[in-house]
């Protein structure tokens, strides 16, 4: 397990480093003046000069890269081109909202998706299984921003069950949570379907294995076979998948934040793209990428720990 952790951690770090390299080289790959590209046509020559100095664009690329790495490690993501506020502070303000949104989305997915999948697998080919299949495939197919828009339209504008916009009063947890219900569902709905399908498939696969036949032949109670013998094995790939889910939830969060006018990293980055505020875009993308890498790392490690075959390999 230790060996696996070390390897997996090393890989995660390498991946994040490469991702940063790609991000940094993006502005160098396009022909033309990087500062001009990053700041857009509205920028004055002074601003470009300032940007160059800020990003160290006058130095060789790899020096820039390692400087950048060092800065990131020290928590310095540069400053906002326009307001001159540190990007890390700005992200620090927005990030909790995005994480809360992603977690609520993930919560919906786990709470609804896994039981749905188990139910389908156990009652395979029953009418309810077919209904769940249609529902979950539908959930996967429909884009999250359509769900957000229609949810906003139906529950907030027409029915007025939930507040339409904003994140709720600061400090009022209940209000904040009420504001999270709708966007969270919109973000997580696709994953409800995806998890349901995935759990169903892996459950069915496990249920067909020889050792389950053997457990049946020994007359173990059906419940114990399903929820201990089969689920313990079928849950492993699902756990590993949850980490990947966070990535797509972050993508979905971008839309939910804009549609429900919520604060968050996604909204901040989209605004920055429109104003050509490259340091914020880069900082925002970097932080979400790290968040994604961290979540896949954690879910992989949890899955490995749950599996004695990996856990006991050193």
């Amino acid at each position: 397990m230790l060996l696996y952790t070390v390897k997996r951690l090393g890989l995660a770090i390498l991946i994040v480093c490469l991702a940063m390299l790609m991000l940094l080289s993006a502005i160098h790959m396009v022909p033309g003046d990087p500062a001009g590209i990053a700041l857009g046509p509205r920028a004055t020559p002074e601003m470009r000069e300032e940007f160059r100095a800020l990003m160290g664009l006058d130095r060789p690329f790899f020096v820039q890269y390692f400087k950048f790495l060092a800065n990131v490690m020290a928590g310095d993501l540069g400053v906002d081109v326009w307001s001159k506020r540190p990007v890390s502070t700005m992200i620090g303000e927005q990030l909790p909202h995005t994480i809360a949104l992603a977690l609520v989305g993930l919560g919906w997915a786990i709470l609804l998706g896994i039981p749905m999948g188990c139910f389908s697998a156990v009652h395979r080919n029953s009418p309810l299984d077919k209904l769940t299949a249609i529902l979950s495939v539908g959930c996967i197919a429909i884009p999250s921003f359509i769900v957000s828009l229609y949810a906003l339209l139906l529950f907030a504008v027409e029915l007025r069950w939930f507040p339409a916009i904003g994140a709720g009063e600061a400090g009022d947890l209940e209000d904040q949570f009420v504001h999270l219900v709708l966007p969270g569902l919109a973000v997580g709905l696709g994953w409800v379907g995806y998890l349901a399908r995935f759990v169903r498939t892996s459950m069915l696969e496990v249920m067909g294995e020889n050792h389950i036949r053997m457990a049946r032949a020994y007359g173990l109670p059906t419940r114990r076979i399903t929820y201990i013998y089969a689920l313990k094995l079928a849950i492993l790939p699902t756990v590993a998948l949850l980490g990947v889910g966070v990535g797509s939830l972050i993508s979905g969060a971008v839309f939910a934040e804009i549609i429900f006018a919520r604060p968050g990293v996604g909204k901040m980055v989209v605004d920055a793209v429109n104003t050509r505020n490259y340091p914020i875009v880069m900082g925002g993308v970097l932080v979400t990428t790290m968040l994604f890498a961290l979540s896949t790392l954690i879910s992989d490690l949890v899955a490995a720990w749950l599996d004695p075959r990996i856990r006991q390999s050193l």
């Binding site: 060996l3 070390v6 390897k7 050193l314």
Partner: protein, 337 residues
């Protein structure tokens, strides 16, 4: 008689884990020896059997001869031409002379190609311009299948039929040697006999030499002229088949023969010959590698490894204390009955 194929001190090693893994786990030698310095010769028209349990290295040895596994040491010569160290492109010529039949008859045919294409494949690979349809029909006839099979896909064939197609394909380039890996695996007894009879007829008609890799002792007793018994990648005993079955020289051979149940309820055994399991290749025992399971092991066996030495005319064994004489060896197996 001159030897068509000659292996001398062949050693095949595999890397067991990546370099990083080996470093992290502190494994000094991340290699295992699947085949450990074995030597034998195959004569024209002869059938040589490689016998062993799983992990004995018999399949790896077969694959090393046809160049699917790389021999790190030793020499494999076909008609005097050295094969070890040849590049893949140089091996092509060799592969017209040596063909291989794989263990699983159906899985060794490309699942999306018809029988006709499977049989024509060797001609295409070697750029031999012939009437491929006519060749395919001729080869099918040779192995006793009618033309209706030309358009069939592997999954539509029975095990025996697929095995025949495998034989036809192996014969396509008119090879001198055929390496047959478990030619009867997965076949029922009644079909097994047919495949062996077919291979036997082709051997007579075409003057083929066979290297048969198997764990099936009752079968190998009928089809092979000479045998090598393998254990942990080494030859523990070699010699003429009938001699080995009549009077095994190595305790492992004795145990192996005794482990084959005899289909006669009057001859039930009450004693077990071999206990324990085959050790891991990662962790070879010191001294004689068989001593951990040998009922006759003595102090010397735990200390020094025996050489593969001549114990009688045409017989070699890797044992410090081989069973010396036919009279002393207990009769085992149906051949001795």
């Amino acid at each position: 008689m001159p030897e068509l194929l000659k292996a001398d001190g062949v050693r095949v090693r595999f890397r067991t884990s990546g370099l990083v893994n080996a470093l992290l786990k502190g494994i000094a030698d991340p290699y295992i020896d699947a085949v450990m310095r074995v030597s034998f010769g195959l004569r024209q028209g002869e059938t040589f059997g490689l016998v062993g349990e799983s992990g004995s290295g018999k399949t790896t040895l077969g694959r090393a001869i046809i160049g699917l596994a790389r021999a790190q040491e030793g020499s494999i010569a076909f008609e005097g031409q050295e094969l070890v160290g040849l590049k893949d492109a140089q091996y092509r010529g060799v592969r017209r002379n040596i063909a291989m039949m794989f263990q699983d008859p159906i899985a060794s045919l490309s699942p999306r190609k018809t029988v006709r294409n499977a049989i024509a494949e060797p001609f295409r690979i070697h750029g031999i311009a012939k009437d491929l349809g006519e060749e395919a029909r001729r080869l099918l006839r040779l192995v006793g299948l009618h033309e209706g099979f030309l358009g069939a896909y592997p999954h539509q064939l029975s095990g025996g039929q697929a095995r025949r197609v495998g034989v036809a394909r192996a014969l396509a380039l008119e090879p001198r040697v055929i390496i047959a890996d478990e030619p009867t695996a997965g076949l029922d007894v009644s079909v097994q006999g047919e495949i062996l009879n077919l291979m036997n007829r082709l051997q007579r008609e075409l003057g083929l030499s066979y290297l048969i890799i198997t764990h099936n002792l009752p079968v190998v007793r009928h089809v092979s002229d000479r045998l090598a018994i393998m254990y942990l990648g080494r030859f523990v005993e070699t010699g003429a088949t009938k001699d080995i079955f009549a009077k095994p020289a190595h305790p492992y051979t004795l145990g192996l023969l005794a482990a084959v149940p005899e289909p006669d309820p009057d001859k039930r055994r009450d004693k077990l010959e071999l206990e324990g399991e085959i050790p891991s290749l990662m962790n070879r025992p010191r001294g004689c590698e068989f001593h951990t399971r040998c009922p006759f092991a003595q102090a010397k066996c735990r200390e020094t490894a025996p050489e593969h030495r001549k114990v009688a005319e045409g017989r070699w064994a890797s044992c410090h204390y081989p069973f010396p004489d036919p009279a002393d060896a207990r009769p085992v197996g149906p051949a001795a009955a």
